[in-house]
């Protein structure tokens, strides 16, 4: 059972317009009972962090398919930290090569979900912090 108060920001950093996955996740998590905020495509890391703090979210889910994840995911983590919001957990998805995942985790991204991930796996992570 999802904890009803968990708040999640689904965000698209960078310049790619592939929002099919982000919107599916946003809607599915909302249907699962979470509070979900989605702010649209082409958001800067600064804008994402500002929204995350204003909306007092528990998780930020970043979706990126252009290959800019190594630069932009850690930037969001760092900006959260700089703004005293390191308790907000950052997770990511999109087209992320397997070999990039260890580096992203080292830089503070909690989990990375690639193509073929089921809703269940994501909910499992949000609820229990386990999974990818």
């Amino acid at each position: 059972m999802p904890s009803k108060k968990t708040r999640i920001l689904i965000a698209k950093p960078g310049l790619d317009g592939h929002d099919r996955g982000a919107k599916f996740i946003a809607r599915t998590l909302r249907d699962e009972g979470y509070e979900v905020i989605y702010t649209g495509i082409r958001q800067t890391p600064e804008a994402i962090v500002q929204t995350a703090i204003q909306e007092d979210v528990d998780f930020v889910g970043l979706s990126l398919l252009s290959g800019a994840h190594n630069e932009l995911f850690p930037r969001v983590v760092d900006l959260l930290k700089e703004n005293g919001a390191e308790d907000i957990k950052v997770i990511g998805g999109g087209i992320i090569p397997e070999e990039d995942i260890p580096l992203l985790k080292e830089k503070g991204v909690q989990a990375v979900f690639g193509p073929g991930t089921s809703t269940e796996q994501i909910v499992e992570f949000i609820e229990h912090g386990s999974g990818r």
Partner: protein
């Protein structure tokens, strides 16, 4: 048209005796069969009653109105489709190498992928370009990059398609300027710019300016090219990305043609006459896995567009009524799991495009759910087209699936659904209001959501994802774009800025700014001046941003 009575009676008899007997012992695998677009499929299609009038009205002959059976009378018996692989990554130097490789392998046209900063009008040194330079396509900051990109490539002999939208006029100007330097006149240039902003608002996301000035830039291109670059396809009205965003087949056609209607209207409003520009409109569709439905989709699209142009816009030149299109196989149908399975998917989709009468084709490579494709995979994708072209035999006759009871029924069904969507969009005031209200995005999202839910529930089988899974090692040696490219490109840019005549640059940009303030001015000649002076793409777009403002997305969830 109703079935003839006798046939109806016989069908009923067959269902009640022969079919019933079999089904009672061997039930069918599913209670309901549906197409890839989730529409019901009947067990068996029968001939509709035949009349010559109806045949001529709905299908006719290839190369004749309503072009259902193809835009050319001889189709692939006369000339094969153009094999055009979409490519570009890293710097202009690297992409130039890839283009030369593709041409050596027998590809017959170029298709340029630009990186996202280029597509959105940011230079490589812009903070918004962080992490994106050279990633999903080649980086172009100035004319210098375009000169390198087309080095050694005969622009008077090949045709070049460029996937560029918001700054399409600028990239076209750069292409013209490169040709000028090679001594090739504008009248010799053949190719396409995508230049389709409406689908950017709907599905693809690389918009810059709001609808009104964006439509102006587009009609400026129509007007300029009709006089100066007569062989250029001034727009590629694209359903591809609408489908990738999750629409079904009918929505893909409906929203694309509704966008087409909007462009034609804008051009008429700008004072052009329909037959002066409509023959240079081209289209771009997706090919998904449901072979028969996809073939029907292409046939229906041709028939509807011909009717729109003839009946709504009173076109008289047959070229204005012909829907000519490029096809790309469906990226979103590819799986990261068991990537070699994608080779088979691509072959089916490519076959659908060919049976549907495409004018050019891009076949995706097997690892595209994971990364940009390596040379070896691109070659295999191109070979898939070559096998279809030279070995399959489907090129020997025109529109081979016509007359299939099933394909004709699907064609009619798609046509009906498309007209319903077009009518709804017209009732909302046309495509621009339909987009700003989020109507179109909502329709697509609903379809995408249903598809994904069906996959999660296992009701829609995706081999390797929800059935026939296996443990596997992720493929290695995927193509990676070196992140150092941004630095290399930024250095190149600052060097260029030092070497150009900056007062000429400023003068050309000021002239563009003045032109942008007056709707009656065609911006193409002014843009051409700026690129000749090596103004950067970012500088040119900034002038237009200042004058036009920026579009804000209508968020629909």
């Amino acid at each position: 048209m109703p079935l003839p009575e006798e046939l109806k009676k016989q069908k009923k008899d067959w269902e009640e005796t022969t079919v019933r007997k079999v089904i009672s012992r061997y039930p069918e695998l599913k209670a309901e069969f549906v197409t890839g677009s989730d529409k019901p499929v009947e067990r068996l299609y029968l001939p509709e009653s035949f009349s010559v009038e109806e045949y001529l009205g709905k299908q006719g002959f290839p190369g004749r109105y309503p072009y259902t059976r193809g835009v050319q009378p001889t189709m692939y018996r006369g000339r094969l489709w153009t094999m055009r692989q979409y490519a570009g990554f890293g710097t202009a130097e690297e992409s130039n190498q890839r283009y030369r490789f593709l041409l050596e392998q027998g590809q017959t046209g170029l298709s340029v992928a630009f990186d996202l900063p280029t597509q959105i009008g940011y230079d490589s040194d812009d903070p918004r370009a962080e992490g994106e330079v050279g990633k999903v396509g080649v980086v172009v900051d100035t004319l210098r990059d375009m000169e390198i990109l087309f080095d050694g490539i005969p622009l008077d002999k090949i045709s070049t398609s460029m996937t560029i939208n918001a700054p399409a006029a600028i990239l076209l100007a750069m292409y013209i300027a490169v040709a000028e330097k090679k001594g090739i006149g504008k009248d010799k240039l053949r190719g396409t710019i995508q230049n389709d902003i409406l689908k950017e608002y709907i599905a693809r996301g690389t918009y810059i300016f709001p609808p009104a000035p964006s439509m102006r830039l587009i009609t400026d291109v129509f007007a300029y090219c009709s006089r100066e670059v007569p062989q250029w396809n001034t727009i590629s009205i694209s359903g591809y990305h609408i489908r990738e965003a999750g629409s079904d087949a009918s929505q893909e056609v409906a929203f694309t043609l509704a966008n087409g209607i909007e462009y034609v209207r804008a051009a008429l409003k700008a004072g052009l006459s329909v037959d002066d520009f409509a023959g240079r409109l081209s289209f771009f569709f997706n090919a998904h896995n449901d072979l028969l439905e996809e073939v029907a989709k292409f046939r229906a699209a041709r028939r509807i567009w011909a009717r729109i142009m003839k009946e709504r816009f009173n076109a008289t030149d047959p070229k204005s009524m012909m829907l000519r299109f490029h096809t790309q196989t469906g990226g979103s149908t590819l799986t990261a799991q068991q990537p070699d399975n994608n080779i088979v998917r691509v072959a089916i989709q490519a076959l659908a495009a060919v049976l549907g009468g495409t004018q050019s084709l891009h076949t995706n490579s097997r690892e595209e759910a994971l990364a940009l494709p390596a040379e070896e995979s691109v070659r295999l994708a191109l070979r898939t087209q070559q096998v279809l072209a030279y070995e399959s035999g489907v090129t020997s006759t025109v529109d081979p699936l016509a007359g299939s009871y099933c394909v004709e029924a699907l064609t009619d069904r798609i046509e009906l659904e498309v007209w319903q969507y077009i009518d709804r969009i017209e009732a909302l005031g046309g495509m621009v209001p339909s987009i700003l209200k989020g109507y179109v995005q909502k329709q697509i999202q609903e379809a995408a959501f249903r598809t994904q839910k069906d996959i999660e529930k296992g009701e829609r089988v995706v081999v390797g994802i929800n059935k026939f899974q296996m443990e596997e090692k992720r493929p290695e040696n995927l193509l990676r774009v070196d992140p150092a490219i941004r630095q290399v490109q930024t250095d190149k840019l600052s060097q260029l800025k030092r070497s150009r005549n900056s007062s000429h640059v400023q003068d050309s940009l000021s002239a563009l700014r003045q032109g942008a303030k007056q709707d009656a001015v065609n911006l193409l000649p002014l843009i051409l001046e700026t690129v000749r002076e090596y103004a950067t793409l970012g500088e040119i777009c900034q002038v237009l941003r200042d004058e036009f403002g920026e579009h804000k997305e209508t968020i629909v969830l």
